[in-house]
Amino acid sequence: MPVVLGPLAGIPPGEGRAFVVGAAEIAVFHTREGGVFATQAQCPHRGGPLADGLTDGGHVVCPLHDRVYCLATGAGIGNEFSIRVYPVAVRDGVLLVDPVDTLQTPHT
């Protein structure tokens, strides 16, 4: 079931913010290109806070050791890890995320 995270305006353009949805910690990104993505909050490498990472249209860079992930699929770019991604949507300026990872991206 999708959960309401709050207004999209709560995430500045190009940045991410972390949310705690039940047991799941989820990072949500609002790219400058207008895309919205949700991923697991912690980098599988050393637990870095991905919501604090730099983003561009399709990637997030972990602030601790520069591991790069594809925001849409969670695949690691040039690294051996990958991250979970969650379905996310914006309706009437409100962010909705489905904390069940139906995409089943493997967590390594």
Binding site: V3, V4, L5, G6, A9, G10, I11, P12, P13, G14, E15, R17, A18, F19, V20, V21, G22, E25, R32, E33, A41, R46, G47, G48, P49, A51, D52, G53, L54, T55, D56, G57, H59, V60, V61, P63, L64, D66, V68, P99
Partner: protein, 814 residues
């Protein structure tokens, strides 16, 4: 023309290398080659056996030529078929299994075997070595040692030379208590003198190896298998296994049986040919040349070349003149280089020696008539390359002997690749010279990987891989396939810095997103390029810069340094490391109130509150009520100082006052890399101003020396003196001008020490001090504008810049 028959007896490193050299000279067309080896494998790098024993490498990784190589090169290999007889009259060899083969040319490369000294109880009733006793020479030895070590509690190694120590190290790795038994009075007698041996002993004992010197093993105890050793003096040592590493003996029996002259080994002439038979050559550890028998690989490479030149007719005058023995080793984690003599021999031999037992550093050189004839370097072998070359070439040494042992002063002298002689060895393990790499590049191999595959440079111990890459690049010269992106200021925009700056100015691009839209590849943004662009735009536009926070690294979004657990550090301003009791109490109260996990003095003379969660930052800053210390970014960071003139009895200038002025002026300016500064009140340099990005050192009469390009981080470099100025204000002006020049011209993340080496101190002096380019006043004005635009970012505690800027993970009802 029918091919001649070349038979090689021995399939070890020497035999295989000799055949490779023959093939490299077109020998495949001249000879039908047949090789006989004792071991049922292709040939492998015996030097690496200690790595197998340690578990660092796998057996498959040490093969030099696996079995398919023989087939590809048309070589008939009889592996596991030892030759037992050479009949020189009929030119035939016979193996234990009954194979008889005829030769026109014979190469003996039978190498050596482990020397097992005579001891009672060595053999079991079946005449073989008693279970639990091993040599240390072959893959099978290694496999046996590893299998037995797993179930052994205590292992003894007989022999305190290189092999013995490597065996000891390997056994330690398998969890055994290791006892090293050595006949001599000190370890590694071939490479070390008695002092060096003592120091190595101490190091090994610290690692847990028990050392027994001057112990002669008389008997191996135990009925069915080893239970201990008995020494000649009657003492006993219990153990479950024994590795005998007491040296090697050349395999010369079949040569002797065929009537060749054998002394310590098979005697050869300068062509590596038996002195008795024109058709028989000998290379490697079983050869004796001018009375010398070599047990290291380097001589082998030279011998194999001479043999190949001679036998193929490539150079019938090729001659071997002996090798000077110099080796670099790593024993039990101790780096060691050794060459020539270990003790002076003549009355006028000069000894230069340094010893620091506590650190395990020992250096000793023996100089004869101004030339190096022997040397030992242990612990610190930074001078080994130079000394080994001086030893090998017998070049005259500098008068100041101290400089032989240490690098004195800066910058360090590097042997450039231009200066490196063509014959210098780049890879010692595989005997590959600079010239050989050059030939390989000329033959079309233009990447380090291809060259390493073709020459095997870097494929031994691997320590020279970096150098191999540099040499390949040097030979590729202008033709090296260059990736143009190395010149880009940021990966996401295909422009070098000057071009990019011009485009940004021309189009008036004031935000990072505007730069991407106008200049990015397909107008796309690139995460990795953002912080560098933000830094550049700030430098160009000051107040007019449009601050998009997503372009900044997290540290610059929340004004603290992110820690491994995602918390941040808080460092308040503290110019020159000077504080007050009131400020200290406030900091202490804040630390107590917020339960700050760690309070730490920084390297920049400030106080760091470490481990503050992001959401607490605004409150912590408010309670501190002190300006930000800018300890997180690529920016001006800090200015250390010493006590200066206020209290110090040596002070020549007010370093604390100057530090305060400098910090007041430059705090918060962004720059390509961190700027760490210091002021020193006298040349005693207590605040380390000479190794900072910018440093000012008082020299008296209100005069200050300004140092730039110093470093004492991962790189260490003494700064260059930019100039000497009079008065503190002049220090601030000139250092500001230098920093602005650096801000405008350095690459992102290029610290001043790299920048200065790239630009040259003369150029810096010309621009900054002499105003050769007429831009001094523009630089000053730009720096003034930059400093005027700086705001204390900790004031964002009351006026956050972005939504949820300091929010903790936001809880949501699921």
């Amino acid at each position: 023309m029918t091919k001649q028959k070349l038979i090689v007896v021995g399939n070890g490193m020497a035999g295989a290398r000799a055949v490779e050299e023959v093939l490299a000279r077109g020998g495949g067309e001249m000879f039908d080659i047949t090789m006989f080896g004792d071991e049922p494998y292709g040939n492998y790098n015996r030097i690496m056996l200690s790595n197998i024993l340690c578990g660092i490498q796998d057996t498959s990784e040490i093969y030099i030529n696996p079995l398919p190589w023989y087939e590809e090169n048309g070589i008939t290999l009889h592996a596991g078929s030892p030759v037992v007889e050479i009949d020189r009259a009929s030119r035939k060899v016979r193996t234990a299994s009954g194979i008889v083969a005829a030769y026109d040319v014979l190469l003996i490369a039978t190498g050596s075997r482990a020397f097992i000294p005579p001891m009672l109880g060595l053999n079991g009733p079946d005449g073989k070595m008693k279970p639990g006793v091993f040599g240390f020479r072959t893959i099978d030895d290694c496999d046996g040692i590893i299998a037995t070590a797993k179930s052994s509690r205590r292992a003894a190694v007989i022999g305190g030379g290189l092999l013995g120590l490597e065996a000891a190290r390997g056994l330690m790795n398998h969890g055994c208590e290791v006892h090293l038994v050595h006949l001599g009075a000190h370890l590694m007698p071939a490479q070390l003198d008695s002092d060096g041996g003592k120091m190595l002993r101490a190091t090994m004992e610290k690692m847990g190896v028990k050392i027994h010197l001057q112990r002669n093993t008389a008997e191996i105890l135990g009925e069915d298998r080893v239970t201990g050793l008995r020494f000649k003096d009657g003492d006993q040592l219990d153990c479950d296994m024994v590795v005998v590493a007491a040296g090697i003996r050349p395999n010369v029996e079949i040569a002797r049986g065929s009537g060749l002259t054998v002394e310590r080994a098979i005697v050869v002439d300068n062509h590596m040919r038996s002195v008795d038979d024109m058709n028989v050559y000998v290379v490697g550890e079983c050869a004796q040349h001018r009375g010398q028998v070599y047990g290291l690989v380097a001589p082998l490479w030279d011998q194999a070349k001479v043999f190949a030149d001679h036998v193929t007719g490539a150079d019938r005058d090729a001659a071997y003149h002996g090798s000077k023995l110099a080796t670099k080793l790593k024993v039990m984690g101790v780096e060691l280089a050794s060459m020539g003599l270990t003790e002076p021999e003549l009355e006028h031999d000069e000894v230069v020696q340094f010893s620091e037992a506590k650190r395990g550093t020992y250096k000793k050189l023996i100089v004869r008539d101004g030339r190096l004839v022997g040397g030992i370097l242990m612990g610190d072998i930074s001078k080994a390359a130079y000394l080994m070359q001086a030893f090998d070439r017998e070049t005259p040494l500098p008068e100041e002997r101290l400089s032989l042992l240490f690098d004195i002063g800066t910058p360090p002298q590097k042997v450039t690749l231009d200066e490196m002689p063509a014959t210098a060895q780049v890879c010692n393990c595989n005997g590959v010279t600079k010239a050989a790499i050059g030939a390989c590049v000329a033959a079309g191999k233009r990447t380090p990987k291809a060259v390493m595959g073709a020459t095997r440079a870097g494929m031994g111990c691997g320590s020279c891989k970096g150098l191999v890459g540099e040499v390949v690049a040097w030979f590729c010269g202008g033709d090296v396939e260059e990736d143009p992106s190395v010149h880009y200021y940021v990966p996401g925009i295909p422009m070098a810095k000057p071009e990019l700056v011009a485009a940004i100015r021309e189009r008036g691009l004031k935000s990072v997103s505007a730069v991407f839209a106008a200049l990015g590849t397909d107008g796309k943004s690139d995460a990795a390029s953002k912080p560098a662009l933000a830094s550049l735009l700030i430098t160009l536009w000051n107040e007019a810069y449009e601050d998009e926070r997503d372009a900044r690294f997290i540290n610059d979004r929340v004004h603290g340094n992110i820690q491994k657990d995602g918390t941040f550090s808080v460092v308040p301003e503290m110019p020159g490391g000077v504080t007050t009791p009131a400020d200290l109490m406030r900091i202490a109260q804040v630390a107590v109130k917020y339960d700050v996990p760690l309070v730490k003095l920084t390297g920049g003379q400030r106080i760091d509150l470490v481990g503050v969660p992001k959401e607490q930052l605004p409150a912590v800053w408010a309670d501190l009520d002190m300006p930000a210390g800018w300890a997180w970014g690529k920016s001006y960071r800090t200015c250390k100082s010493c006590i200066g003139t206020d209290y110090c009895r040596f002070g020549l200038g007010d370093s604390m006052g100057l530090a305060k002025k400098i910090e007041g002026k430059f705090r918060g300016i962004d720059s390509p890399g961190k700027l760490k500064l210091a002021t020193a009140g006298c040349p005693r340099n207590c605040s380390e101003a000479m190794v900072k990005d910018v440093g000012a050192v008082a020299v008296g009469d209100d005069r200050w020396e300004i140092y730039v390009g110093g470093a004492a981080g991962s790189q260490i470099r003494k700064g260059d003196v930019l100039c000497t100025v009079t008065g503190e204000d002049e220090v601030v002006r000139i250092t500001g001008r230098f920093m602005q020049w650096y801000r405008e011209n350095a690459k992102y993340k290029e610290r001043t020490h790299t920048f200065i080496e790239r630009m040259g101190i003369e150029r810096a002096r010309a621009v900054v001090v002499e105003d050769s380019d007429g831009i001094a006043s523009a630089l000053d004005a730009a720096m003034d504008a930059a400093t005027a635009a700086v705001r204390d970012p900790w004031l964002e505690r009351v006026a956050p810049k972005t939504a949820n800027q300091f929010a903790a993970p936001i809880p949501v009802e699921a």
